[in-house]
């Protein structure tokens, strides 16, 4: 069970990093390849000039989009890493303490 938990955590971290990188690359490629992909419920007609303006606007906003996702995932990964490291330390310390207590009882 402990082994499953350990690998499950690693799997989540690896998948998270990969998906983030993959998503970022695909997102940029998608925008470059398809240009504007705008949905408006009230008006579905967008003239070419407006579409070009929107494309420029979208490109300008990509750094903000990237920053938001990047910062969030970095913070989450660091937080998970700190929890995992502290948990390992506590488990090691408890194990050592248990062994030393058993040795003392045997003496």
């Amino acid at each position: 069970m402990r082994l499953i938990t350990k690998y499950f955590r690693s799997l989540i971290i690896v998948l998270g990093v990969l998906s983030f990188i993959y998503g970022g690359i695909l997102s940029i490629n998608h925008i470059e390849a398809n240009g504007i992909d705008v949905i408006d419920e009230t008006s579905l007609v967008i003239d070419a000039q407006e579409a070009d303006d929107k494309f420029v606007k979208k490109s300008d906003e990509l750094p903000y989009l990237f920053s938001a996702f990047f910062i969030t995932w970095v913070v989450l990964f660091v937080y998970i890493f700190i929890i995992a490291r502290n948990r390992k330390e506590i488990e090691t310390e408890l194990y050592t303490l248990k062994n030393s207590l058993e040795d003392r009882d045997n003496e």
Partner: protein
């Protein structure tokens, strides 16, 4: 989570007026939901602790508070980034932003009171009271846009939302998938944090008994 990222970054249509920065909402809203949920869970655990005096509930409350603090910090960061992209300013004293900052300070005061306050059962009781009072901020954040003049739109989703408002169905589906994915991640992290907290307390108790 993979599905959520794919939907948010690629699949969901781009909103016509906000552009790509609107995709930040698929991250910002789940974080805000979990940040607010944390203080409600914290209040429930605190009430249960005050009734039962079982340290298990206090450990759960502390774990929830720490995770809630991280999430609300991320809500503020992602909100600030979006604000710069769309409103061209990093910060404005909008009611929703202000009440969220108040929640951030509530989490901070809870954690500081537990770290630097009494380490015995009195500390747990003080923290529990603070957690219960802090939960009052949640309805204020949720309804801030309806109560006061705000740059944020009025409620679009949820039980108290304006049912006539229309959100694109694919956008809505992306939002729901994100909400589910981040909630699952939240449960896993909370469980890990709780086990760590329980282990730390066990270690302290063992040392106290021996020495």
């Amino acid at each position: 989570m993979l599905c959520s990222l794919y939907m948010a970054l690629l699949r969901a249509p781009t909103e016509i007026t906000l552009g790509d920065s609107q995709r930040i909402f698929y991250l910002h809203i789940p974080l805000a939901w979990l940040g607010m949920l944390s203080i409600i869970i914290l209040a429930i655990f605190s009430i249960t602790y005050l009734i039962t005096r079982d340290i298990k509930w206090d450990n759960l409350a502390y774990s929830t508070a720490e995770l809630g603090f991280v999430l609300i910090t991320l809500v503020l960061v992602t909100g600030i980034i979006w604000s710069k992209a769309e409103w061209t300013v990093w910060w404005t004293w909008d009611p929703k932003l202000t009440t969220t900052v108040i929640l951030w300070f509530i989490y901070l005061s809870y954690i500081m009171s537990r770290k630097y306050g009494p380490s015995d059962l009195r500390g747990a009781s003080y923290g529990a009271v603070l957690g219960i009072i802090g939960a009052i901020d949640v309805p204020m954040i949720y309804l801030a846009a309806n109560w006061w003049s705000s740059a944020h739109p009025e409620l679009n989703i949820g039980p108290l939302s304006d049912q006539s408002s229309s959100v694109n169905s694919e956008m809505m589906m992306t939002l729901w998938i994100s909400l589910i994915a981040y909630t699952m991640l939240y449960i896993i992290i909370l469980n890990e944090k709780y086990v760590l907290r329980k282990g730390t307390n066990l270690l302290d108790e063992t040392y106290n008994k021996i020495f």
